[in-house]
């Protein structure tokens, strides 16, 4: 099962990366990042079957931090929406050069 879990985790991570690189909506980008983090969680859980509980402790840490990051991230997205009435990255182009 270990190899399959790691392969699935790699596939999920890649989907997340492709999503971040191709999509232009800030919320969807953020969801893709969460997908990447959860792919990593899967790896940790799978590996901890081999090495003991450390991997599972790591997963709890990752989930806690992801929640904190979501709180801050969504607040930032709301802040940008108030300025531009859009969360499309094509419209967010004041800083260039």
């Amino acid at each position: 099962m270990l190899a399959e879990s790691l392969a699935l985790s790699a596939v999920l991570f890649t989907i997340g990366v492709i999503g971040v690189l191709t999509r232009r909506n800030a919320i969807i980008l953020f969801m893709c990042v969460e997908l990447m983090l959860n792919a990593v969680n899967l790896s940790f859980v799978a590996l901890s079957k081999l090495y003991g509980a450390t991997g599972q402790v790591f997963v709890v840490m990752v989930m806690t931090v992801a929640a904190a990051e979501a709180a801050v991230g969504l607040a930032i997205i709301i802040a940008i929406f108030r300025h531009r009435q859009s969360v499309d990255l094509e419209d967010i182009n004041l800083l260039k050069g």
Partner: protein, 513 residues
């Protein structure tokens, strides 16, 4: 004092400065929320934060002077390297808050919690300096980053500030994904998360050519490359540095980078030392690309904040040379360089913050033309900072020696990175193009008749400028004392391995091939 980190009371004692800063920051957060936002309350919380930082600074200095250490493994490092990085980070946080108190006043930002967020970020940085476990590295990076995401968007009325915050957040979270996946693969390859155990596993299992370990290293390198803004992962840095309030830009350019690099260095030297043959090529190229790209793009900048952003990218490249050199001397050169860079960056951004018209984030290099004729001291100070960043002898003070030691570290490293040293020197010469352009504009051009007089700097901003300039010049005159300190409190790569007993300079990682 010698700590045994397996005993909870001693672990707590070893974390005293970190706990003091975190606890104090939480109390100050309550103080910040106690009263309605006002300019006066913002200043009160700012001064209280400066007081807390002084107390933590004293605690760290006291522990460093006692030569606190630990002879066991464990998740927290107690060594001179940690204390030196802590001191540099605390210096940076104090500089940020000092600049921010007056900057907030001028731009009408009344959120008192802005200073507390700097304290939280600084506590994350101190954790990073101490981390000897991948889990602690991750927590440190996130405590630091989440606070700094908010700080970048501090100016709520400015769309530029909000945009900087969004860009920093999205790319930072993206980088966190890579960082974590790298950690998962390292855990998969070695079965450990503690750096010294990873180091032993890499050595005993001969992992330098193991694909899982190398992919893990690579992903970790990408993640940390984003955090320290190394090319080609630097795209966010100029935009974010440009849009964020100037004191926060200084904080991001100097302290965030210093702390992320401290963790970088510790992971690579303690955990991956025996994998040198596997990862050295990757850091070598990362260093070269960062130095070349940063310098070439910096030459074309018209905005001084963007110019300094690219300059900070270039300095990441220089610091990557120390990582690649992987020796005890490289870590000495690293701490020396980080201190020099922090001082010069804070000085330069203090001048930029002063020169900026209130309520704008725009800062053109053209605004500095003929500054010498209206504000000679301001121009002189800016000249010192820029020459220090350039690494100019005498007038650049400490900056010259910082670069000199880096070159020496590259040349003295077991692997003889002569090509890297040559590229470092050549790109430094190129960097004269943009640093001296500002110096020339300030001293050799007439002040345009229609240029507005630059506003007077506040007391705190002036203090930051005087202290940084004085330290740059004074330490430039007596660099050997500082080197002795950085060496004595030295951080030895991989302190728990046979490599230490054998003496590192003789130890050639390439010989394992």
């Amino acid at each position: 004092m010698l700590y045994d980190l397996a005993i909870p009371a001693q672990l707590t004692a070893a974390l005293l400065p970190d706990l003091l800063l975190m606890g104090g920051a939480m109390c100050l957060m309550l103080l910040a929320a106690w009263k309605r936002d006002s300019a006066h309350h913002q200043r009160t919380v700012g001064y209280a934060s400066l007081g807390l930082l002084t107390a933590v600074f004293g605690t760290v200095a006291w522990m460093a002077l006692r030569h606190d250490a630990t002879n066991t493994g464990g998740v927290i490092a107690v060594d001179g390297f940690r204390f030196l990085v802590d001191l540099v980070v605390l210096l940076g946080a104090a500089g940020t808050i000092a600049l921010a108190i007056e900057h907030n006043d001028r731009d009408g930002i009344t959120q008192a919690e802005s200073h507390v967020l700097v304290l939280f970020a600084a506590s994350g940085m101190m954790i990073l300096a101490a981390a000897r476990d991948l889990m602690v590295v991750f927590l440190g990076i996130e405590i630091m980053s989440v606070a700094v995401y908010v700080l970048a968007g501090l100016d709520r009325r400015s769309p530029r500030s909000a945009e900087a915050s969004l860009k920093y957040f999205l790319l930072g979270a993206f980088a966190t994904g890579f960082l974590l996946y790298g950690m998962a693969l390292i855990y998969g390859a070695t079965g450990e998360t503690q750096l010294n155990r990873i180091g032993n596993a890499v050595g005993s299992l001969q992992l330098a050519k193991d694909p899982m370990f190398l992919v893990g290293c690579g992903l970790l390198l990408v993640g940390l490359g984003f955090k320290v803004a190394a090319a080609p992962f630097h795209m966010w840095a100029p935009d974010v540095y440009d849009g964020a309030p100037t004191p926060i830009t200084a904080f991001m350019a100097a302290s965030v980078k210093a702390a992320a690099f401290a963790a970088f260095l510790r992971i690579w030297f303690e955990g991956f030392y025996f994998g040198w043959a596997g990862w050295a090529n990757a850091t070598w190229w990362l260093a070269v690309v960062t130095m070349v790209v940063g310098n070439v793009v910096a030459l074309q900048q018209k905005n001084i904040k963007r110019m300094l952003a690219y300059s900070s990218i270039v300095h990441s490249g220089y610091l990557l040379v120390a990582v690649t050199a992987a020796s005890a001397f490289a870590s000495t050169a690293f701490t020396f360089y980080v201190l020099a860079y922090t001082l010069a960056t804070f000085g330069a951004f203090a001048v930029v913050a002063t020169m900026q018209p209130a309520g704008t984030t725009d800062a053109r290099i053209a605004d500095y033309e003929g500054l010498w004729h209206v504000r000679p001291w301001l121009a002189t100070a800016m000249g010192v900072y820029l020459l220090a960043l350039l690494g100019f002898p005498v007038f650049g003070g400490i900056g010259f020696f910082a670069k000199w030691y880096l070159v020496q570290a590259a040349l003295a490293s077991p692997s003889r990175l002569s090509a890297l040293a040559v590229i470092l020197v050549v790109t430094s010469v190129i960097s004269a193009g943009y640093y001296l352009q500002v110096v020339r504009a300030m001293f050799m051009q007439p002040r345009p008749a229609d240029a507005p007089a630059p506003p007077a700097a506040g007391v705190l901003t002036r203090t930051v400028m005087v202290v940084t300039a004085a330290l740059i010049l004074a330490l430039g005159l007596f660099p050997s004392q500082l080197v002795a300190i950085t060496k004595d409190n030295g951080f030895r790569p991989y302190p728990f391995s046979p490599a230490l007993q054998m003496g590192l300079p003789q130890m050639d990682p390439l010989a394992n091939k």
